[in-house]
Symmetry: D2
Subunit: 496 residues, 4 copies
Amino acid sequence: MKTIGHLINGTIDTQASRTQDIFNPSTGEVSKQLALASKPTVEAAIAAAQAAYPAWRNTPPLKRAKIMFRFKELLERNADEICRLIGEEHGKIAHDAMGELQRGIENVEYACGAPELLKGEFSKNAGPAIDSWSEFQPLGVVAGITPFNFPAMVPLWMYPMAIVCGNTFVLKPSERNPSSVLFIAELLHEAGLPPGVLNVVNGDKEAVDVLLSDARIQAVSFVGSTPIAEYIYTTASANGKRCQALGGAKNHAIIMPDADMDNAVSALVGAAFGSSGERCMALSVAVAVGDEAADALISKMSEQMKSLKVGAFSDKTNDFGPLITRAHQEKVVGYISSAEQQGATLVVDGRKPTVAGYDKGFYVGGTLIDNVTADMTCYKEEIFGPVLLVMRVNSMQEAMQLIDDHEYGNGTCIFTRDGEAARYFSDNIMVGMVGINVPLPVPVAYHSFGGWKRSLFGDLHAYGPDAVRFYTKRKTVTQRWPSAGVREGAQFSFPS
Amino acid sequence: MKTIGHLINGTIDTQASRTQDIFNPSTGEVSKQLALASKPTVEAAIAAAQAAYPAWRNTPPLKRAKIMFRFKELLERNADEICRLIGEEHGKIAHDAMGELQRGIENVEYACGAPELLKGEFSKNAGPAIDSWSEFQPLGVVAGITPFNFPAMVPLWMYPMAIVCGNTFVLKPSERNPSSVLFIAELLHEAGLPPGVLNVVNGDKEAVDVLLSDARIQAVSFVGSTPIAEYIYTTASANGKRCQALGGAKNHAIIMPDADMDNAVSALVGAAFGSSGERCMALSVAVAVGDEAADALISKMSEQMKSLKVGAFSDKTNDFGPLITRAHQEKVVGYISSAEQQGATLVVDGRKPTVAGYDKGFYVGGTLIDNVTADMTCYKEEIFGPVLLVMRVNSMQEAMQLIDDHEYGNGTCIFTRDGEAARYFSDNIMVGMVGINVPLPVPVAYHSFGGWKRSLFGDLHAYGPDAVRFYTKRKTVTQRWPSAGVREGAQFSFPS
Amino acid sequence: MKTIGHLINGTIDTQASRTQDIFNPSTGEVSKQLALASKPTVEAAIAAAQAAYPAWRNTPPLKRAKIMFRFKELLERNADEICRLIGEEHGKIAHDAMGELQRGIENVEYACGAPELLKGEFSKNAGPAIDSWSEFQPLGVVAGITPFNFPAMVPLWMYPMAIVCGNTFVLKPSERNPSSVLFIAELLHEAGLPPGVLNVVNGDKEAVDVLLSDARIQAVSFVGSTPIAEYIYTTASANGKRCQALGGAKNHAIIMPDADMDNAVSALVGAAFGSSGERCMALSVAVAVGDEAADALISKMSEQMKSLKVGAFSDKTNDFGPLITRAHQEKVVGYISSAEQQGATLVVDGRKPTVAGYDKGFYVGGTLIDNVTADMTCYKEEIFGPVLLVMRVNSMQEAMQLIDDHEYGNGTCIFTRDGEAARYFSDNIMVGMVGINVPLPVPVAYHSFGGWKRSLFGDLHAYGPDAVRFYTKRKTVTQRWPSAGVREGAQFSFPS
Amino acid sequence: MKTIGHLINGTIDTQASRTQDIFNPSTGEVSKQLALASKPTVEAAIAAAQAAYPAWRNTPPLKRAKIMFRFKELLERNADEICRLIGEEHGKIAHDAMGELQRGIENVEYACGAPELLKGEFSKNAGPAIDSWSEFQPLGVVAGITPFNFPAMVPLWMYPMAIVCGNTFVLKPSERNPSSVLFIAELLHEAGLPPGVLNVVNGDKEAVDVLLSDARIQAVSFVGSTPIAEYIYTTASANGKRCQALGGAKNHAIIMPDADMDNAVSALVGAAFGSSGERCMALSVAVAVGDEAADALISKMSEQMKSLKVGAFSDKTNDFGPLITRAHQEKVVGYISSAEQQGATLVVDGRKPTVAGYDKGFYVGGTLIDNVTADMTCYKEEIFGPVLLVMRVNSMQEAMQLIDDHEYGNGTCIFTRDGEAARYFSDNIMVGMVGINVPLPVPVAYHSFGGWKRSLFGDLHAYGPDAVRFYTKRKTVTQRWPSAGVREGAQFSFPS
């Protein structure tokens, strides 16, 4: 059985004292072994990054960007293989993996604009004959810690921008699906990245804690669940590191009485069940304003869900695949059951889907639950499964209050045709990413991604313009030149 | 004896269960009493800020800025009174207080540009008929905690920008010199600020800890010493607050052999002894490259220091005044003595200055110490007094290594006439604010202020463009309008 | 009778070989004489501006901005007097003059942000150890030529930004109402502007042609009618000058069937008749989609127009005042009559208003004309009077076609509650300034003002960010420092 | 013999009523025929661009940019062939053609950042519940007219940015060397550009005049000589088009007494003789401050010129190749002779170079002329050949005066080691592109290219950020949503 190792200083290292199983969630079987990095391994990666830093920092941004251009080419050329690796270890269907990869590539495209993005601010005559300018200099060695649900995209949110800004990087991806991460990292080396600029270590908390405590790490980017995000942020901050840590979500859609209901339902099906709901931007709660809207929603939704197809990653006709682990499957099923027990109405029950030939896979089918209330466990926590909760309220204000009262503030959307309702909602809702008739308002690569409240810890959002600020620090120079006589002196030296 | 109170919801409150003496450092006498805020008092201020927030947030930025324009007028009109209040409680001579105030006013001027500074980013056709934009929304209630050494300027670094961005504010200034702070805050109300938008509470650690723990406070800005800055940053971060905490400094000037030595010496005298060295940007170490430069520096410096005049704040012919407290005076004297004991050469000794008529004032005279080495106590710690250390090295590289090895990275400068040396220095030195022949490279109000290493905790610097980012959070909206038939429908309703 | 002169090099000059009458349009009487500048007078103004340029250019932007801050104060303090001067010579009622002045002041506020607005772009390591930056340097002496209809506002669109960018300025305002212009220019001097930086010359085509041909003038800003704008632009361009020339308008409002009709009618009354329609952003055509909307519009509009009050500038209860000249009054009346003759329906006829006690004033009352078609003279030309044309179409597309087919493309708006209609309209309409339920979509001072098609000649719009670009030119510097041995040399000079 | 045609609507069209010879300047022989576009041909190209515009305008910028990414790949993959085509028709040696192409590709890289570059400005609450934003919309069909000297680079300055901004394009390249232009344009189609978005017409004044007069052309970019630039600018402006027209140059280098002379000489050799001096940024005048500097310069320069190798494009060991035509060769020789006749000292004479085997080629060798004065013909006019003039002055001020007195203001540089001299020079010199120890200060692709004085007609420079502004127009939208009852109504419809 193949052992997946680390990529340190441009070289794959598969030696390991500890290993862990990697599963194929579609079949439920172990497919590979993962080497888990010990402290010395992580320190070797940091040392490689540290050694590569001085030369990389002094490489002109334009040259750094040229490597990103080639990286984009290689990602596109190898897209099918990347998607296959993602599917095998994550369970995602190819069309979904391709969507994820495409989003990741768009972050690489954004990084190609580094020369423009890194421009500083120049002030002539800040004082008499005094100029002042601010540069945005790289930080040094920075780290990224990424989750299982977007093995290609989330690392690509981080290191292309970090690297193109002049930093060197140590990435610790999810231990569930490291293969696409390593494959992509090797493509970046093929594109011309010098060894040591990007290093990948696989591991668990032991590896993470080295990254959080080693003084050579200047900054940490994290995406995962809120409790871990909070731990990462607090620990990294206390250790003097810059940190941005993105956590969990509970994304609500408000369905207004004037919404185009067919559109809304189509949008919700994709946004709730796509990737089995294992997305931090998945729409997991639909809040219908008025029973009329709620009834129409439930009716059209349950009708449309009849054609939903769950199954193995390898069949492209499937809509979505298995969950990531047996444990997670059981947890999701538990949430559904708790909803039923706590009084909600189970309209479509996906707890026991039949997936012919894959009975050991970690599947849960699309599930629709009506009459959910704010005190239910299924509402208070993030399910991260293909489960859509429906809540009924009497007014838009009530719907907004629900959203603002929730712990998370990642994404939200409203379905309406009315300009005023949309503007009021987007202005006032305490959520960082807002859709107006757009169910998954993931910002495009040239805006930045970030939730509010306990969905993000830190000042600056992920990718886009904020990433430039996160991965650089401001240096302000104030300059005055005293005369050395060269200019005036010359006038006297050579009289006519 | 007058008791200084709090400004909460537009009203002065002087009731207090605990009070503390306020001294006039020039005379060494107690002049006023300060009410120390209890937890309920701080909470009342937070509540006032919270109540004022919704209306203030919805006030157009242009209207908010108009109040800043009037505030600037009032600051200028009342400049003499402000400087008198500063002098009385801080000991700063009027010309120095005026300089501080002027810098503060320039931050108010910058805040007047809010409508431009708050512009978001708009992307037409992020997708087909989909628009996306990012807004920079205020955070809510934010807090500022400020030091004694710039009672007018440092608060003005914070709340004008915070407020003009739509936040409401609770300020806890230094307990040493609160009078100018309160006077200025009242001017802002006179300029039209609604009650509750800016609140000032005086107090000590009890007040600070409420600000760090109360869930209604969204962000904390701090300026002070590094140990406190670290405590503030770690605590506020752990409590889920955005935080920027500026700490101590040890600012080095490199004197290159080709420097214009007369210019350099003049610059150093002001930068080392101005405001008794109680500035986080004070130049406290001169690193001379080569003995020739060092000898010239010592010789010219000690000559020029003969005319330095230390004395009471009320005499404008004085160059600088007393230190802030008796305890601090003794601490500075202790540093000077330790230097002597550890082998440095005391060239000019300011430990016992004569200030006729003010023998109880907290004075230390200008002090010049040669042959300082990196292991001495006076070098390792921030003295915050009128003491200039001179170190001798053999190369620019050695000088830069000294600077980079020091715990702090606030400001630094180089004196040279050579373009290449200046560019190499400013590019590579690990310090946030760099001067080239400029001894106090404090960024102008439209750049941002911030040190590196342990001189600043947080991602974003103080004032200037970074303040806009610190005091706002990004919200990204993605919008698609489904047809409601209004546009096309009309075509069919009224056929020709 | 008082003679109004020029302001050259900080001094008023009233000598003149030629003069012209200035009227009070409310009474129809001559009230003052205007000195008309000869070629030598204009050249003296240019020479003063040229002489003032070098010192002004080198004055730090922050210092230049400080004068603008004081200018704003003085404008506010003297607002009543300014409005009185405007009213006397233009006929505008005080509330309208105050609105104009307020908009002008907001341009001064924007100019106060010069230090931020003038920041250049800095690129570290454009190549190895090569830095490159772009500065935005002033042009030199620039000129402005402004119309009668906004004597305070339009000049304030121009010279505050031009001057704060480091240029010096020659202004030739309208010969109809120069008094407020001169008064305001003197306030700017009172605010601290050095003599020669702003010069005002009064005159006619003789003066204009000097400004268009003199080689010392680097750029010309113009606001007026389209034929003159075209002449100015073509001539100035052919003479190698930078030019922006804003011309005429025919601003349409589309009234959709779903519009909030009461809101729309209120908005239209102000936008069509305010300032007697003598605004380049006046709404002069309402295009109703469907007869139902049209009938409702006509009915509500004619009802609301009953309370419209036209009269002398000195009575603040009037809604609007006289037209600027007898000739213009007759021209507007002629347009109304032509509409009637060409088959339109005259719903409300303002040709003979009664203004008790002012029977020689140049008054025209609010006029509403229905069933206007695209071939009528009143539609093809800009009326610049208190006349609202109503057109009836069957679809939004037809309404948009009308707008796009018109020669002008200054402003337009749509009244609808529908997000999709608004987005389609604003995206596709060939007009530079678009309102969505906003009848006068004049951009705020921190956006820029400019029409499309034959409403503006030039690349860059007036005021706001575009003004910074118009009044500066880019200089790009690329810098590499060869070693002079200072940095490395020192290492060898002083071996340890 | 092959006939080179046009590329219209994605198809090559070689039919022509008129043709013109294309030469191989290295051999002096005719190698191809060029079809010259008649008015109907140009109109067909415009019509194709017009037809392609609506769909292209609505293509999201991200999708437009993706084509630019693929274009870059194809340019790199086909670089050798492009350089061969350039060499054959221009005479440029492969290393020089590769340099040109590389610069062109960097403009394509910049265009890949379109989604970031096209961001508009968004203002929430410009008024109460009123939002306002500015979009940068494409212009429509725009044209480019480009010179022979950079057949690959200059067109790539223009159409990638124009197209990525949403415009469609008609390019008229130089009639001397159209083959690389067409080949590159076909690569862009291979990259996925829809037909009609980019059209190439070959021709002469007949074609140009159609582009300048046809009402469908919204803007014209031109690079060429100053007299033609002025004609283009004046004509296009008078016809209501936006225009930027870049003209000639006379680029001076100041050699200060403290310059690193070896560096300076190496830099000058490349900058004066590279590409036979047929560059608008060629350094054609060296101004030495003081005779000592001048003598050293002449001595080292003439020494280094001994190894200069002129010859056919096909031999990569050559330093530079022939001039573009026989006529131009004779013109350059004439300038050299005139210098001699007017009293200058011909130090190195390149009038009769020997190029074995290519005696009919249009060669001129590297030429160095000392003691040139400002009244000589060779100084007043642009030579555009491998000729370096040396002038001797007594002071830096005198050198700067020479530069400022010259008609052109394209590029300039100074060689010095002194910070103060460099800063004074770059601040004050009336030239748009300034080098400090950089002989060819061509801005990188993410800054903009443009001279001052008669070297550029128009407000905005070529490529970089200015190109975004040149190829778009600002539209400002102001939006207020009246309540349609959807938001509040819902509260009342469903009471609890």
